[in-house]
């Protein structure tokens, strides 16, 4: 039982600090056959940025393959010969960036940052030469100026933990009684079946509320995520907890062994929640079929709503759609599972 209380804490800390896709200190190897003032300056720029550290100087172009195979270097920068001279006079200077495409995301981000470094260097040179028609972009990051990944992940973690604790644990707990035979005793007693169900659900509801509180406290005070619209955040979370409990109940009416309950809630709930709700992978990038499937994943709507309410801090009027969808889900699931709950044993 302890683990259920510790899990959210560990997950929040993990997600908050360790699970990031930010580029930090990527190891750069440089092949610089010209070694002149300009390349020295550019290299200094690269090394000075917090994204990169220059880890190795290559002496031969053919070494590139080897350093990648050893897996110690993330990206290689190759300067063309006679760089400074070409840069200033012939316009033939070139920088080649060789990235490790086996990690596509990192590769494209790293290439982006390196190009930015080169571009700003070039921009400064242009500045000195008074070139016309310069458009200067003035960028502002809304809601998350430091671009912390935690802002993106915290709503997701909330979704996973709710599904896990409410749905998975409820279903297992009810099926366990079936498997052990104690359900028979309960059903034979004069207690109404609906009370049995509620008595099973309420402890898990309390547990998830405790977890919700710890998650919120941790993310606000440790991770520095803004609380946003706290009142509606809590309301919609309670709605989602209720929905997950009904899901768990539904599963428990469909299966008869604990192992089956675990596997079906893992396969039927956890995997879709992890993958199709936009926690790690943006829904817009998926193929259309999967985008359509993701519509029936309740966590998707919950997480969207939490992102809006918590991080963007918008008013409830912007999440009415998510609210409505979650309510419909909850009502349908609850009715179906209460209908299916068998009062008699086979």
């Amino acid at each position: 039982m302890l683990i259920v209380l510790i899990m959210p804490i560990v997950q929040i800390i993990l997600f908050g600090f360790a699970i990031t896709t930010e580029v930090r200190n990527a190891k750069v190897a440089v092949f610089d056959p010209s070694c002149d003032i300009e390349t020295q300056r550019i290299k200094q720029r690269i090394d000075a940025s917090s994204y990169f550290t220059i880890a190795q100087n290559l002496t031969d172009y053919n070494q590139i393959n080897d350093v990648f195979k050893k897996g110690k270097i993330n990206i290689v920068v190759v300067f063309s010969k006679d760089f400074a001279n070409n840069l200033l006079h012939t316009g033939d200077a070139a920088i080649q960036i060789v990235a490790d495409g086996s990690e596509p995301n990192q590769a494209s981000t790293q290439v982006g940052y390196l190009s930015q470094i080169f571009a700003s260097y070039q921009q400064e040179l242009l500045e000195q030469y008074h070139v016309p028609f310069r458009i200067v972009p003035n960028t502002k990051m809304l809601y998350n100026p430091q671009r912390k990944d935690a802002y993106n992940f915290v709503p997701g973690v909330m979704g996973i933990i709710m599904i896990l604790i409410c749905a998975m644990m409820t279903s297992i707990a009810i099926v366990r009684e079936k498997e052990l035979g104690t359900m028979e005793i309960l059903l034979a007693s004069p207690i109404k079946p609906i009370y049995i169900i509620f008595a099973k659900m309420i402890p898990y509801m309390v547990l998830s509320l405790v977890n919700l509180t710890t998650i919120l406290l941790l993310s606000i005070f440790v991770l520095g995520v803004p609380p946003g619209n706290l009142f509606w955040l809590v309301i919609i979370s309670i709605l989602f907890i209720f929905l997950s409990l009904s899901l768990g109940l539904l599963i428990s009416t469909l299966v008869s062994t604990q192992a089956a309950a675990m596997l079906s809630s893992a396969m039927g709930l956890l995997v879709p929640t992890l993958l199709l709700s936009g926690i790690i992978f943006p829904i817009e990038s998926m193929p259309v079929i999967l985008q359509d499937i993701s519509v029936i994943v309740p966590a998707r709507w919950y997480i969207t709503a939490i992102r809006k309410l918590m991080i963007q801090g918008v008013d409830v009027q912007y999440v009415l759609k998510e609210f409505a969808i979650l309510s419909i889900f909850a009502v349908i699931l609850m009715t179906v599972s209460l209908k299916k709950f068998k009062i008699r044993l086979m």
Partner: protein
């Protein structure tokens, strides 16, 4: 002795209504669906434009943007408030604001600002989006310069071409990145969860007592539990190889045999971990949750989804104790880069020591008397 125990295990697996199906279908399902879903590529960024200038140059800039392919122009707003509201309601991700006198400034003072505001809840999307937009802008000013004919390419404008090249995966296909890692995940889940549930299952049913009263030594008992999962692991791996080759046309650049050697050691590592956990748990529910908890952390900290190099230093140190991390790197390096055994020797040693340690622990922690 071992022979009879193995016979028992295989009969149990065979007669289980659930297990054989799962061993077959889970890898197939996951390998077919996951690589499509697991895509962190950023595209289709929704852009909202506020044009205060309404000049020829600003119009042309607006027309240029959709042709880049990164952006979907959602609306051209009249005011900043309207644009901000479209971000609040999730209709757009980035606002580009063209200020008053944009054209005049470009002609007279030769430089003009453009305001970009990105929704950075997803930091990567915001960052990349504004970067792409910046590229388009500098491209546009380049165009203007060329048109004005003010500068031929030979005069003294410092110029430098930047040529990116992506090794091992030239089109940055995300599936190539995910498929080898998925194999690791599947092996971990199947070869880790199933043994964890196994011994506890016997405890719950009470059949473990029957084994405890026989003269079977502890190590033989554990071995008899390990070997079936080792074989299951290889069945799963074979299915994965076939799907990877047929569906994703992904054939290891390196040696397939080398992958098998590493996998053989790795399955022993995770099964051993499952057995240790099941030795310490009393109910299946408990075993399941503990295992789930560990596997979740191990997977997240293995570099499967997010790179280890992005983690803070303390987290990077923790990953040294994560067997998944080593196998994940091995798979990607052999599959995509074709690394050889010598490149991966440290990984091999690490995995072997994990295997030895965890299985010794499993043998020692299995108590025949309660």
């Amino acid at each position: 002795m071992l022979k009879y125990l193995l016979e028992k295990e295989f009969k149990q697996i065979q007669r289980n209504p659930f297990l054989p199906k799962m061993i077959l279908f889970m890898p197939i399902m996951m390998m077919l669906v996951l690589p499509w879903a697991a895509n962190q590529e950023i595209k289709g960024i929704q852009l909202s434009i506020v044009d205060h200038d309404h000049s020829t140059l600003s119009e042309r800039l607006i027309h240029k943007i959709p042709s880049s392919g990164y952006f979907k122009l959602t609306n051209i707003s009249q005011s900043n408030e309207e644009a901000l509201e479209s971000i609040d309601s999730g209709k757009s991700d980035i606002i580009m604001e063209i200020p008053n006198h944009f054209e005049r400034d470009l002609y007279t003072s030769s430089k003009a600002p453009i305001m970009i505001s990105a929704n950075a809840v997803n930091g990567m999307k915001g960052g990349l989006g504004s970067q792409y937009l910046g590229n388009i802008l500098s491209n546009y000013s380049e165009n203007l310069r060329e048109e004005a004919g003010m500068i031929s390419r030979q005069t003294s404008i410092p110029q430098c071409k930047i040529i990116p090249e992506y090794k091992f995966n030239p089109y940055l296909d995300y599936k190539v990145f995910m498929v080898p890692a998925l194999m690791v995940m599947l092996l971990t889940m199947l070869a880790g969860f199933l043994p964890a549930l196994n011994i506890v299952g016997e405890k719950e049913k009470g059949t473990i007592e029957q084994i405890n009263v026989t003269p079977i030594p502890k190590s033989i008992f554990i071995l008899a539990k390990l070997i079936p999962y080792w074989i299951i692991g290889f069945v799963v791996l074979t299915i994965c190889f076939i799907i990877a080759a047929l569906v994703y046309h992904l054939i290891p650049v390196g040696n397939l045999f080398l992958i098998c050697i590493f996998a053989a050691v790795y399955i022993i590592v995770v099964s051993g971990m499952g057995l240790v956990i099941s030795n310490y748990s009393d109910t299946m529910q408990q075993a399941m949750f503990v295992m789930w908890f560990f596997i979740m952390i191990l997977i997240l900290m293995s570099g499967l989804f997010t790179p280890i190099s992005s983690m803070p230093d303390w987290a990077q140190k923790i990953t040294i104790f994560n067997p998944l991390r080593y196998f994940m790197q091995v798979m990607r390096q052999i599959y995509l880069k074709g690394s050889g055994f010598l490149d991966l020797l440290p990984h091999f040693i690490a995995l072997c020591s994990f295997a030895l340690f965890l299985n010794l622990w499993a043998v020692l922690s299995y108590k025949k008397s309660s």
